[in-house]
Symmetry: C2
Subunit: 415 residues, 2 copies
């Protein structure tokens, strides 16, 4: 461990000197304060001082990311790599966040600051990582090859447990591999999770008995109280379930750590709230950095939007996110299953396949794109499978739709 | 609970119609999706649909908060109050975050979105709130009246446990009421928390025996692993300690909930990372909304910067934060002790007193302002106490310093 470093790449924006800001970050986030101190000896600095390893200047910009009413541009930008001694940080994620990320956003003199990447040394492989990941997800769903086709309960909120179970039956019969509670559904008064489990699991079991197929159902077990989350987890396990939706930002690092240590379920992460961190390109944190932490914490399946998502995220950003998830941190086993979703109906399959390395190691999740299919949910799933067949065979969708009625109907409605 | 609503005030910024965006938020965050669904019945909507209660137009602005390269202004702004049925959300903080906050930041068509406030109905008083708060903090420190004077170990990182204990002795002798680990210090290899407790607590005990005064020491117990955080907590309790620093954003809602349910310590919150949420005035979340959640979770003492802080935060923002903390949520007991800090040396006492309602219910924390005093740390504490006497008596500092040498030395150095 001696001499190992954690490296953080910051994108710095300032009307001043980016190099001075980088040096200030290194000082503030290790041994310094606003005035000189007798105790800041050489020994102390040697143990803990961070240092700026490199600085890459970027094009300056005219408009600051943070309002700068009394200032004036141009706003200089640079990517600075700051190295922190592992000795000063350790391997606790709370320490990483506090020292290398959180405090940095309070620094004066910047008009923009964004964490672009975190390079973690081998000692950080101590974290558990995914329990199931890609291989485990395939095994639990019995899908040996090809994309896993998934859906979500719609409407997202407001159905009673029995009504939800009826939607589950419909989706099972439609031929999906995976179904999830909407991330907004946890345990409200009209649909407590215990009642939902009791209503839904018999449908999953019945479908298995009839067809031999185990549809994975991810229940919304999230709670800000880890004890409650574990109680929810245990109820799912007791009923024979195998997955859960975890709203990672809403439970926090503490909730996720607690759950992963005790979990028997495949953990499907919804990253709602990530947008706050990342939507402004000059501020916050890149997904590349963000996803590393949550993978170490144990995410098995990671939702990352998709091509032409219904949300703000540009396609290039989704494509980068997909590649981030496909890149091992310490081993192949720490790659979670990418979950491509948001406004997906199959029409994006070809482009998704071509831009994400022609892999089928993904879950493709349609909500409205399945429930809203003009020929019914079964045809919605079929249309999505057809779109992926077309993608794999390098056939464009319009051509493939000529001999595939369900896909043709999707194209007519959403194309 | 029937009919109760949670109201969230959003500041919306868009080149389009703010009213349409508000309506979209209400729909997206309850029952809707991107296409019409057969299951979104009147019964479902009645149970869960959110609605826009009011819309207050603000001055438009010329520069968007989020870059809008293909768009053009003016950017219209409005504060919209959206009401969500409590029935659809319940009282779980993870549900609140997911439904009312996190998802909203993904909406297309906005160039800015900020949560200004959250109005929580009486059912939310089920959360524990502070265990000690203002009264408990005073009792534990034996400070019946006046501000509680506090300091922090400096240098912030790099001292060995015995070196830290020597600083603690110096600060006890200097006359502080409270000392804390720097928030960046948790349990690194060179200063494991168990060794720090063993080194520091005898100094606290010795000082109590000699003087009758119990100095509160807050140990940095934070960990992303709630089990580790509880182990740290238990070691502090076993050694007779009475406080802990908790890096609230770095442990998350789950970590904080878990700790508060089991805690015997006064919990001193450091909000590092809050800047990411709040620094851009058109994005993220106001402290007013943020602090409500952490108070419900059980923060006893809340760090909020100060006048002329060393960080980016403007004084007006600090003053608003102070008033936010001083405003009861459900009762006076849910008010935490405001901790005024960052670059403080006493010179800001008069203005702090005048702008925060002339209250002495606060902790005033000097780091470099005590350690770096030219006559030593004892004089640093004395100078701060003198500054607060001057504040309370409406005497300006320069006048008071004529008869108070320690304050005069501070003014000469930092004034």
């Amino acid at each position: 461990m001696a001499g190992e470093m954690i490296r953080v790449t910051y994108r710095i924006e300032t009307s001043g000197d980016p190099e001075a800001i980088a040096a200030k970050i290194a000082a503030d986030q290790s041994t310094g304060t606003f005035t000189e101190l007798p105790g800041e000896t050489e020994a102390v600095r040697a143990r803990c001082a961070a240092r700026v390893e490199s600085l890459t200047l970027l094009e300056p910009i005219a408009t600051p990311s943070l309002p700068d009413p009394d200032g004036r541009g141009p706003y200089h930008r640079a990517d600075a790599v700051v190295a922190f001694p592992l000795e000063a940080v350790g391997t606790d994620i709370a320490a990483l966040m506090t020292i290398m990320i959180n405090g940095v956003f309070a620094v004066r003199g910047v008009t923009g600051i964004r964490v672009m990447d975190i390079d973690l040394p081998p000692a950080w492989s101590c974290h558990p990582g995914p329990q199931f990941g890609i291989a485990g997800s395939r095994r639990l769903m019995g899908v040996a090859s090809g994309p896993m086709i998934a859906s979500i309960i719609k409407p997202s909120l407001g159905l009673l447990p029995e009504e939800t179970a009826a939607v589950v039956r419909q989706l099972c019969e439609a031929g999906v591999d995976f179904i999830k509670d909407d991330e907004k559904l946890m345990s409200p008064g009209y649909s407590p999770i215990e009642d939902r489990i009791k209503a839904i699991m018999p449908v999953i079991d019945d479908h298995r008995q009839k067809t031999g197929k185990t549809v994975m159902y991810a229940f919304g077990i999230s709670s800000a109280d880890p004890d409650v989350m574990m109680r929810n987890h245990d109820m799912v396990v007791a009923a024979g379930g195998n997955a859960a939706v975890v709203n990672i930002n809403s439970v926090g690092y503490g909730g996720m750590t607690f759950l992963r240590k005790r979990s028997a379920l495949c953990l499907h992460a919804h990253r709602n709230g990530w947008d706050i961190l990342t939507r402004h390109p000059g501020l916050g944190m890149e997904f590349k950095a963000y996803q590393k932490i949550w993978r170490l914490l144990g995410v098995d399946q990671f939702q990352i939007n998709g091509i032409r998502a219904k949300y703000w995220e540009p396609d290039e950003s989704f494509v980068r996110s997909f590649h981030d998830l496909a890149t091992p941190l310490f081993s192949d086993a720490d790659r979670p299953l990418p979950v491509v979703c948001s406004g997906q109906w199959g029409g994006q399959a070809v482009e998704t396949y071509q831009r994400t390395g022609r892999t089928l190691d993904l879950m493709y999740l349609g909500g409205g794109g399945i429930h809203g299919h003009p020929m019914g949910a079964g045809a919605g799933v079929t249309a999505i499978r057809q779109a992926w067949e077309a993608a794999e065979r390098d056939i464009d969708l319009a051509t493939y739709a000529r001999t595939h009625a369900e896909l043709a109907a999707s194209l007519a409605k959403w194309g």
